[in-house]
């Protein structure tokens, strides 16, 4: 088995978020759990691009050619964090709408979807 325990961390964050979403009794709590689940992907791809003993891919203090980590995954997670924040806000706006319309934010009380 060549896998490392470091990859248990994103799996744990993912599972905790899924558990929170599945057992949630409040839509705001559910959206926060969704953000937690989403952040497990950042940890996973940053770990995939990591290299032991390497520096960050910013060559202002170190010369180009020094062993560095993968810049592609870092660029991906950077933009995704900002975009993820706005998508979370959009979901919260939907939650406000649900609350005004139905008077509750408990997903179990909201089962039948009606306009």
């Amino acid at each position: 088995m060549s896998a490392s325990l470091a990859f248990v961390v994103p799996a744990w964050i993912f599972v905790v978020g899924i558990y929170g979403m599945a057992t949630s009794r409040n839509l705001v709590h559910l959206i926060m759990c969704l953000s937690v689940t989403q952040s497990s992907t950042y940890v996973l791809i940053l770990e995939a691009g990591y290299r032991l003993g390497a520096t960050a891919p910013v060559f202002s203090d170190v010369l180009p050619g020094v062993r560095a980590t993968d810049p592609v995954v870092q660029a991906l997670s950077l933009t995704d964090i900002v975009v993820g924040a706005t998508v979370t806000a959009l979901l919260l706006a939907f939650t406000l709408r649900v609350y005004k319309k139905r008077g509750t934010v408990d997903p179990q009380a909201l089962r039948p979807m009606c306009g």
Partner: protein
């Protein structure tokens, strides 16, 4: 669906998820041994090709600039969605989609809260602008700097109340800035397409490495991305803050 059926369905899904996770875990490479080659090629080539030390910005705004364009439009559409949903609801409830004065009475804030939020605004604007305009030189850039910069308007809301916040974050200017920021990225792409035959090609002079005006189109695109992110976030805060101004809907007769 009854509770027991849902529990059984959930148990099956969890078991499947566990199998997938274990399967994926066993297939992962050893931690800390990134094999390349894309990151290594970029780390070697980009400092010479683009005259900049921060390779992450080179990926974001140049080599994979098309992806960032897509991400920027996701942000734009999400903010537009927030605005539409909240305004539509307010208009239906009170007939006024953009309430300003009525609603809750302004709450009293202590001198200390007001003092430290005003001090914090200055520090935040200075630091976040510094962070935002150096995408090519330091680990910063338009996304990080602008997302933090938008926080200063939230600080004004917390420290000085809705009226001061509303004067700063007046919605017409934010909408214009957001649209300009999102549109300019695509316009730059089309301009480089005309100039060089490649979408988002780096056609501007590269300049000396480490200078503020270097790395060609990267700081230009970054500036417009920053404009869009800051305007989008402020507009988002504004729409949520307006919820506190909303008069309660009249109870149905």
């Amino acid at each position: 669906m009854s509770a027991s059926v849902r529990a059984a369905f959930g148990a099956i899904t969890c078991a499947l998820l566990l199998v997938m996770l274990v399967w994926g875990f066993l297939g992962m490479p050893t931690f800390g041994t990134y094999p390349g080659p894309y990151g290594d090629v970029l780390n070697t080539v980009a400092p010479h090709e683009r005259h900049l030390p921060n390779i992450i910005s080179a990926v974001n705004f140049d080599y994979r600039g098309v992806d960032t364009l897509g991400e920027e439009f996701i942000l734009f559409v999400a903010v537009a969605g927030i605005t539409m949903v909240l305004r539509y609801d307010r208009e239906r409830a009170t007939g006024d989609p953009l309430p300003q004065r009525h609603g809750r009475a302004p709450s009293q804030r202590s001198e200390a809260v007001r003092f430290f939020s005003v001090v914090g605004v200055g520090v935040m604007i200075a630091f976040c602008t510094y962070l935002g305009i150096h995408p090519h030189l330091t680990p910063g850039g338009g996304f990080q700097g602008a997302a933090m910069l938008a926080g200063f308007t939230a600080l004004v809301f917390v420290g000085l109340g809705f009226d001061a916040f509303h004067r700063i974050a007046e919605q017409s200017r934010q909408e214009l800035a957001e649209a300009v920021g999102a549109g300019a990225y695509a316009v730059i792409g089309l301009a480089t397409l005309v100039a060089s035959g490649f979408f988002l090609a780096n056609v501007l002079p590269l300049g000396g490495e480490g200078e503020l005006f270097s790395a060609g189109t990267i700081p230009v695109i970054n500036a417009f991305v920053g404009l869009e992110v800051v305007a989008g976030f402020v507009l988002m805060f504004l729409e949520f803050a307006r919820e506190t101004r909303r008069e309660e809907a009249k109870p149905a007769p």
